[in-house]
Structures are given as C-alpha cells and as structure tokens.
C-alpha cells in the first residue's frame, strides 16, 4: 500500500470531501439564499398553474352558463348519449343546464350556521381554559382542543352521519320542530326533520371542525392580555362577566375576528365531512333548516365521477367553474383573515390547515 503524496503534504491538508466542505462553507450563504429563492418560487408557480388550469377549464362553462349560473337552480346533465347543442361555439349535451344557486346557498348557509355556533362556544371555551380551569388540567384540555383540529374530516363525517345525525333527528330535532312558534324567523325551524342528513347537521359538524381553530387562537390571545387592566377592572367592582365583556374581549377583539374569518374559510372549503352529512341533493334549496342540500365543494367531489362520462366535457367544465367560484370566495375570506391577524398580533396563524 502506497501513501499518496497529497495525504502527507503538510501544505495541502484535507482530502477531497473536506475540500468540498470548505467550498460549501465559503459559499454557504449563497447556497442557502439560492435554494431558498428557488424553493419559494415553487409555491408561486404552483398557484399560477392551478389558477390557469381552473380558468382554462372553466372558460367554456362561463361562456355558456353566463350570469344565470349564479342564480339558476337547474342541475341537468342533459342527454349524454343523444344530440349535441352548440351554444356560443361550445359543444354541450342536448338539454344540459347548470345553475349553482343551490350550491352557493348551501355553502353560505352551512358556513353561517357553523360560525354562529362555533364563535360563542370558542370564546366560552377559551375563557374556561384561561380563567376557570386550574393550570394542570387546562393544559391537557387545551391540547385536546388543539388536536381536534387534526382529526381527519372523513372521520368527523363518518361520526356525523352514523352517530350524530341519527341522534339529532331522532331525539332533538323533532322536539325543536314541534315547539317552535309560527313566527317569521323561527318558522324556518319547523317542518319535516328528515333523517339527520341535511343543513343543520352539516352546519353543526362544520362548527365542531372550526371550534379548535377559533378556540385555541382565542385562548392564546386571552393569555396575551396583560393582567393589570383586568385586575384594575376587578378592583372597580366589576364581576368576572363584566371584566370579560369590557376588558378582555375588547382587548383582543380583532384577533378573534381574524381567527373567526379563518375558520369561516375552512368551513367554506370543507368537502368530505359535508359530502357525507349533507344528503347530497342537487338542484334545490332546502325549505327548512333540516333539509338535505349540498355545497360547492361536496358537489365537486360527488359529481366529478359522473361528469367525466360527459363526452363533450361540458360537465367537467361546469365543475371547474364551480371550483373557481369556491376558490374565489374562500381565498378572499382567507386573505381578509390573514390581513387582520397580521395587523393586530405578532403571531402567525397557527392551527391546522385553515
């Protein structure tokens, strides 16, 4: 075995790997900088790709469906095996008519129910976690609320459709439906209660899904409220409810609004859980709060399979238009929420994919 001259040469210490290491160390900042820049351009490119694909796919549907898409309630795939119509230069199956109003209404209704339920419950939970429970138990309970955000939505849907829905339809909804007075707003709660798949159940399930987002953010915000103003208010003789209403909540109000809007964004885009508990009925807006319905996201997931059988591709294009609509709504909501959160607090929006 010969000893290579370089390894004993005192002026040239270091083997090839060490020289590579030296090179990396000298240019390390540039390596970090370049790879970081390239990597952070990928989300930009991915976003452009998604938007372009959606827009190109949706364009024929936008041309044919026009503005009526937003207000019409029809959902007729047309005669897939029969004739073909030409509308504005686009081939569509004879008799195909699409309107997204029931989907838009369903999306907004379920999200509204979810927010109405989740916001007060989240604030109450945050108070319980920060001011009622002793610290040793508040921490595990708070952790439990946080991991609730990580439970797969398909499991929440499974539980909603097999356990919660039947329970509500059997034991809760009938009581409510028979006892509500026949006055304008509450009349909406009367009528047939169905089998537990529908608007109210979907809203409740969505509410359960967004509570962790709002509650854990609100809890973190409450912990940031300095104690002195609260103690001062208490020293003035306020009850804990008054301290909460006049000091704690106003102190972090915009943060709570931000978290709520973030939760709203998640509720709007939630697919699987709603597809399982909504009843997936196309073409009608539910007459009361228990009725079966569908949302934009649930329609895409349940209809894409059959849309692919439309030889002209018009059904798939229409779903692209629906998806574009949903994306626009939920992105607007999301950006609004993040703008609020960024302006009012230093923390980043933390919880789950929202």
């Amino acid at each position: 075995m010969t000893i290579s001259p370089t390894s004993v040469d005192p002026t040239r210490r270091g083997s090839a790997p060490r020289r590579v290491g030296h090179f990396v160390r000298r240019h390390e900042e540039r390596v970090w900088r370049t790879s970081g820049r390239i990597a952070s351009l990928i989300p930009v490119a991915a976003l452009l790709f998604v938007v372009v694909v959606l827009a190109v796919k949706a364009w024929p549907a936008i041309k044919v469906n026009g503005f009526g898409f937003l207000t019409s309630t029809a959902w007729l795939p047309g005669n897939t095996y029969g004739g073909v119509e030409h509308v504005h230069g686009v081939m569509i199956p004879a008799g195909a008519r699409y309107g997204a109003w029931p989907l838009i209404a369903g999306t907004l209704q379920t999200s509204a129910i979810a927010i109405v339920i989740a916001l007060p419950i989240s604030i109450g939970t945050a108070f319980a976690l920060t001011e009622r429970l002793p610290r040793w138990i508040a921490q595990p309970v708070g952790f439990f609320v946080e991991i609730l955000a990580g439970i797969p939505s398909v499991l929440i849907g499974l539980w909603g459709v097999l356990v919660l829905g039947p329970f509500l339809a059997h034991d809760v909804y009938p009581i409510v439906a028979t006892h509500v007075p026949n006055i304008p707003v509450l009349r909406y709660f009367a009528g047939s209660v169905g089998y537990g798949e529908g608007l109210l159940t979907s809203g409740l399930v969505l509410g359960l899904m967004i509570v962790p987002i709002i509650a854990s953010t609100t809890r973190d915000l409450f912990l940031q409220v300095p104690p002195l103003p609260k103690e001062g208010a208490e020293a003035l003789g306020m009850t804990d409810a008054e301290v909460a209403r006049r000091v704690t909540i106003p102190w972090v109000r915009s943060g709570i609004i931000g978290a709520t809007v973030l939760g709203l964004g998640r509720a709007l885009g939630e697919t699987i859980a709603v597809a399982m508990v909504s009843g997936s009925v196309l073409g009608t807006v539910s007459p009361n709060i228990y009725g079966t319905m569908t949302t934009i996201a649930a329609t895409i997931v349940s209809q894409l399979d059959s849309a692919a059988t439309d030889g002209t591709g018009f059904a798939v294009a229409t779903l692209a238009e629906a998806g574009l609509l949903l994306a626009v709504i939920s992105i607007a909501v999301n950006l609004f929420a993040r703008a609020i959160i960024r302006r009012t607090s230093r923390m980043s929006a933390p919880v789950g994919r929202a």
């Binding site: 970090w32 109450g124 939970t125 976690l129 398909v154 359960l208 804990d240 998806g323 992105i331 994919r353």
Partner: protein, 295 residues
Amino acid sequence: MTVLPMGHPSTGWRRIKSMGFRFFTWGSLLFVVGPALWLIVGVVVRAVPNWRWSVLTTLSQGTSGGLENAIIGTVVLMFGVLVIAGTIGVLTGIHLSEFAVSRRGRPNGGTMRVAVDVLSGFPSIVLGYVGYVALCVGLHWGFSLLPALLILSMMVVPYIAKSTESALRQVPTNYREGAEALGMSTGYALRKVVVKSALPGIVTGLLIAISIAGGETAPLLYTAGVTNNLPTWSLLHHPISYLTYYVWTDWNQPSTEAHIVSFDAGLILVVMILALLVVSRVIVARTQRHAEGAR
C-alpha cells in the same frame, strides 16, 4: 364622587349575569370536549369489537378483507409528502424568514408571501380537481402516486413554510448576535445556530403537515385512485390506495364486512394521527425554552 342610587337593585341582575357567564363558559367547554370525546370513542367502540390483527397483514378485497395495502399506501404518501413538501416548505420558510426581509427587519418578499397565503386558502377539493384534470387526464399520468403527492404537497407546503418561518422568528436575537460576534459567516451561522435551534419547531410543523396529508381524502379521491394491490415503486400509471378511501366508501355499502373495514380504517387513522400529533406536542413542550418571549 356620587353614590349610585340604583346600585343595590342592579346588583341582583349583575349576579345573575355573572352566574350566567359562568354557566356559559363551562357549558361551552362541555360542548367542545363532549362531542370530541364522543367522536373518538364512537369510532373506537365500533372498531374494537370486530378488530382482527390480520387486518394489518392482509390485502383489501374492496369491501372486505384487510387494509395492508391502504396502510402502506398512506405511509408512502406521508413519506413522499415529507420529502417533497418538506424540502420546498422548509426552504421557503427559511427564505421568508431570513432573506425576504428589508433592512429594518420588516417582512418583505410580497409575491411569495401572498402566494403562500393564497395557496393555504385554496379548498383542497379544488386542488384535487386540478390534479385530476391537468395531471391524471391532461398529462395522461393516470391515477397514480406522483399526482397525488404533488397535490398533497401543494396543500401542505404553505403550512410547513409558515411554521418554519415562525420557528425561525422565535430564535432569540442573542443567538444570531452571538454567532456574528464569534465571526461566523452568515450561512454557517444560519445552519449551525439559527436553523439548529429552530429545529424542534420545524420538525413539529413537518409532523403536523404529514398528519394533515395522511388524513386527507378530497384531493386524493381523483388523483390516487384505488387498488387492492400493494404500492409499487412506479410513480405513474399505478393507482395507490390509502386509508381514508376505505372510510369514505365502505361506510354506506350494504355488507357488514364493509362497515367493519370502514371503522377499522378509521381506528388505524385515529391512532396514527393522534400519535403524530402527540409526538409533535411533546417536542414543543420539551423545547419551549428556546423560544423568545415564550409564555
């Protein structure tokens, strides 16, 4: 100072309101924890009585049989997301936190930040639709691993980037100043001091991201397809199964066996994801001392 004449009568009402508030806080805690426990227990008690360990080692036959292919498929998807989205997300986070800042240390790099925010607001089913239309059909890739991984990665990259960025921002300024005072070059200090001390936060973000990826259904239904075979090494043209698919399709099949498969898949999912989340939490709890301004 004036004495409030109405002070006394109003006190009773205030006491009632205060009590009402107390009921409200306890009640809302109950309404959050109750259904959550009900949900987890509900899945577990329906799965456990019919549980067979052979589920882990036999292949699926659609609505009956085992779940070995789905378990391995989910693990493969998680691992692939960890590689693709982890690399892109962590580097993006480093870029956003360390390099995309102006001289005064205020956040900069507008386009990338907006892109990350917008992407994180994209409904997952819309991403899945794009994957189906553009990748599976448009590029003729078919239902396969690569489109599924790309779409899942698109979903979680914003999350990883955000968590990496906030982990790096929590590294105490002292550490950076100390590194500079010792004469370290910026890049070396970034690797040896900044990223190293932010590592627990970054790892936590990665764990949560793969738990999100493992629990997703909507973007996979039209990109990954389904098969009763084990995952192959090919990225294209071969469908891959995953656990959430069996929960999603088998619960409303007519046979009892299908229901058992559905709940078994649910139980395995719950265990996997809770384990990931608990591990991530333990990492956070054990390393809180690094954070600047930690509670």
